[in-house]
């Protein structure tokens, strides 16, 4: 199949950048979207041009590195799928496809389609640690956890931190990401001890990094390759409210 690509090209972080049109010819429908870009890049290299820079790592939908807004939708619009797992058979011969980077103040573009997502790392860091006792391996079932809680926790833990939620949100809000990270630890007894300080610190870092606010549009949930539910955002709101009211974090710091 033959396609026309309109790709965001930007030399470096300070360059203004612009959309540039490329031809992608002889694309095999079984290729992934990133393989299609590899083909285009090989062509560019042969012609002595700068290849299109884009992020990828695992290419099997588990690392969260790939980050493309394809035709106006983060990861291209196939439910529960990362851009690397999106295949060209979902497009038609002759299509014109626009490809843009994640757009958010907290995700500045470094080059072409590559953004700096270290703001997510800083949110994770601010979440702090989980207390785990050293010593012998604990007995199985010494710490009872209901199947429901563990399932819900694992649902939240599926988040691969790709940032599609931010990219899709009209407010560039990171609430779905933060809610997944806060929830998966808050749901388990091991993570419960530091739950209050964790949620307070992560929300503060999220705000400081310049992400927008949640207006409950549901776009994040719809594009999330791991289908993290909006219910976790309600849980984050609940956890934050509890932490503010109980205020244990501060009482601890004050030594009370």
């Amino acid at each position: 199949m033959n396609l026309t690509l309109k790709v965001w090209r930007q030399k470096n972080a300070t360059d203004a950048g612009a959309m540039v049109t490329y031809k992608a010819d002889n694309i095999i429908p079984d290729m992934s979207f990133l393989e299609m870009l590899d083909v285009v890049n090989e062509d560019l290299l042969l012609r002595g041009e700068d290849p299109i820079a884009f992020d990828s790592d695992c290419r099997e939908g588990i690392c969260g590195t790939c980050s493309l807004v394809i035709d106006g939708i983060a990861h291209g619009g196939q439910r529960g799928t990362t851009a690397c797992q999106l295949h060209m058979r979902h497009f038609n011969d002759g299509d014109v496809i626009t490809i843009e980077p994640w757009r958010a103040k907290a995700f500045p573009v470094l080059k072409d389609l590559v953004t700096d997502r270290s703001s997510f790392d800083r949110i994770i860091q601010s979440g702090g640690f989980v207390s785990v006792n050293t010593g012998g391996t604990p007995d199985a079932n010494a710490l009872p956890i209901s199947k429901l809680d563990s399932d819900e926790s694992m649902d939240a833990a599926q988040c691969i931190g790709c940032g599609a939620c931010v990219a899709a949100c009209k407010n560039a809000s990171a609430m779905l990401f933060v809610s997944a990270k806060v929830s998966h630890l808050a749901l388990l007894p091991q993570g419960r001890a530091e739950a209050e300080t964790r949620v307070l610190n992560m929300v503060r870092t999220m705000d400081k990094e310049g992400f927008g606010n949640c207006t409950v549009t549901g776009s994040c949930e719809a594009v999330c390759p791991k289908e993290i539910s909006l219910d976790f955002i309600a849980k984050l709101n609940r956890e934050y409210g509890k932490a503010v009211l109980v205020n244990r974090a501060e009482r601890q710091n004050a030594g009370a």
Binding site: K6, W8, M19, V69, D71, G72, I73, G77, T98, E100, R103, A104, K105, A106, A168, K170, N171, A172, S173, L200, V203, R204, M206, D207, G210, F211, G212, N213, C214, T215, V216, T217, G218, S219, E221, A222, V223, S229, L230, D231, I233, A234, K235, L236, N237, R238, E239, Y240, G241, V244, L245, N247, E250
Partner: protein, 231 residues
Amino acid sequence: MILTRIFHSSLGKKYIMAITGGAMFLFVVAHLLGNLQIFLGPEAINRYGHFLQSNMEIVWPARIGLLIMIGLHIWSAISLAAENKAARPIAYVNTKTVAASYASRTMMMSGLIIFAFILYHLLHYTVQAPVVNLKHVDFRTLHDPEHRHDVYNMMIIGFSHPAVCAIYLIGMALLCLHLSHGVNSMFQSLGWRKKTYGECLSKAARVIAALIFVGYASIPIAVITRFLVQK
């Protein structure tokens, strides 16, 4: 410190948004139930109007309370919206709306129009400025045989001009749009939404919003179609 965590955080400002919105929602419901008494005739609604007017202990705390609610609601909306705008300095060239409802994307627009509507509504029936009722009637001079303020005939005259009727219908349609998203989001922002009843809540919000529209719109429509006439 608790106040900083509420007034200076994104989540806290959403709590304010939700709580003030919730309070105003309750007022909207109560106000509707009060107004629907017009269908019971002059006696019922004039007595109700007289009851409110003669009890300053009810009217003024309610007015001041609502003023604070609306002030905080608008303050948090503007503050959050400014942050949202700043969060995406460079727009997408091509962007498709995924999942987000029309109501959810236009809360600011519907909110501002509702605010303008409220100002008109206050001038119309609270301040009772004769210029805005387009009938050139001074509502303050209307009294029923029992010397109470004649709320019944004031409403009939007030809605009998088609332009005024249209303003109310538009105002209520936008309120309906605003609430169809707002009532649901309020629970989400306060963390009171759970998987078990989440879907039900979203649907209920839309049904309630529609009922509020039907309730409020029924009065000007009844007047303009002469179902309700001056007595």
